[in-house]
């Protein structure tokens, strides 16, 4: 084997994980399109590697959240019943759905993420103090959205923040700081449920997943250290554009058209 592909995978994972930290989203949503379109890697292999990256990022960036005591452990474990059950169903669906449709679903999720990033989350009007009281509302709706998030996560190999965030902001009405910490907590567990199944199925290929895992750990740690500031408006709009472009590409890939794939 040559080290070129490994270095490339490592670099991609490092970059996307840092960006993920910066933008408050998981790296998977960038990793899967980049690996399939630029690397010509099989979609299922890319999804397997991406799940590993999602777990690695979640573990590597959990420590500061835990210190803040903002993770609501009881709420997280309750919502995890929905996300892991969703992941269980998603793993099954992933084996049944034709690759073409996976590309279409991925394109739609990318568009949804772009729209969400363009709209920007509303900060809660009240300042949040440590140990502040907040009440959890509309739990059934929240659980349903979490089930969907788990399903999509297992199907596409992403953290599914795109569904978890509205579930916690809009349905459960949690303060943003609490929901980010709780979300980080859940993403790793959900991804582990599906990654285990992908592993058992042989869809996690070490030569691809190992460099991605290393890059993700390094990227997530660096991202947490360096990029603490919120992205400015221009940067945010740039990523809205990138997400839309990736979405168009994934949609084209569904129909077998790949404009940017490097020669194998």
């Amino acid at each position: 084997m040559n080290g070129g592909l490994e270095m490339w995978l490592f670099a991609i994972a490092l970059g996307t994980s840092m960006l993920g930290g910066l933008l408050g989203m998981a790296s998977g949503i960038f990793i899967v399109p980049i690996l399939t379109m630029f690397g010509g890697i099989d979609l299922h292999t890319a999804i397997g590697a991406s799940l590993i990256s999602v777990i690695a990022c979640s573990c590597a960036s959990a420590a500061p959240f835990l210190k803040d005591k903002l993770t609501n452990i009881r709420l997280a474990i309750l919502l995890e019943t929905a996300t892991t059950f969703g992941a269980l169903c998603g793993v099954f669906l992933a084996g049944l759905i034709a690759t073409q449709y996976l590309y279409v679903i991925f394109a739609l999720i990318l568009l949804l993420s772009a729209q969400q990033m363009a709209a920007r989350r509303k900060e809660s009007p009240r300042p949040l103090n440590q140990g502040m009281e907040y009440s959890v509302q509309r739990l059934p709706l929240g659980m349903t959205l979490m089930y969907g998030a788990g399903l999509i996560s297992a199907l596409l190999g992403i953290g599914s923040g795109v569904l978890k965030i509205p579930a916690m902001d809009t349905a459960l009405r949690l303060p943003i700081k609490v929901s980010s910490a709780t979300s980080n907590f859940m993403i790793g567990v959900t991804a582990a449920a599906s990654a285990g199944a992908y592993f058992a199925r042989g869809d996690i290929l070490t030569p691809v997943a190992a460099p991605v895992a290393l890059g993700s750990v390094v990227g997530a740690v660096l991202g947490a250290r360096i990029l603490m500031k919120l992205p400015n408006e221009k940067l945010r709009m740039m990523f809205v554009c990138i997400l839309v472009i990736l979405s168009v590409q994934m949609m084209l890939a569904a129909f077998g058209i790949n404009l940017i794939k490097a020669a194998p």
Partner: protein, 84 residues
């Protein structure tokens, strides 16, 4: 819990890194070492749920202990059902 994740992530990364380095330098066994590292990464969050289960049980919170046990069993079910 934070320490568990911190050292767990470090350990898994070290195993993967050494496996990759071996694979680049020599041959076959390296990739197997890296695969073990990947398994470690997958198991980290599962261990985390296990620690939560013990935490709830020790606190006498059997209701949430049962919820944690349910999550754990869904994850394990997914592992076993994933195998063809």
């Amino acid at each position: 819990m934070g320490t568990l994740l911190h050292y767990g992530t470090l350990l898994a990364s070290a195993v993967i890194a050494s496996g990759l380095a071996l694979a680049l330098g020599f041959a076959a066994p390296g990739m197997r070492v890296a695969t073990v590292g990947l398994l470690l990464i997958i198991l980290l969050p599962v261990v985390r749920v296990g620690v939560m289960l013990m935490f709830f049980l020790r606190a006498g919170d059997y209701k949430f202990g049962a919820v944690a046990a349910l999550v754990l069993s869904i994850i394990l079910l997914s592992f076993f059902l994933g195998a063809p």
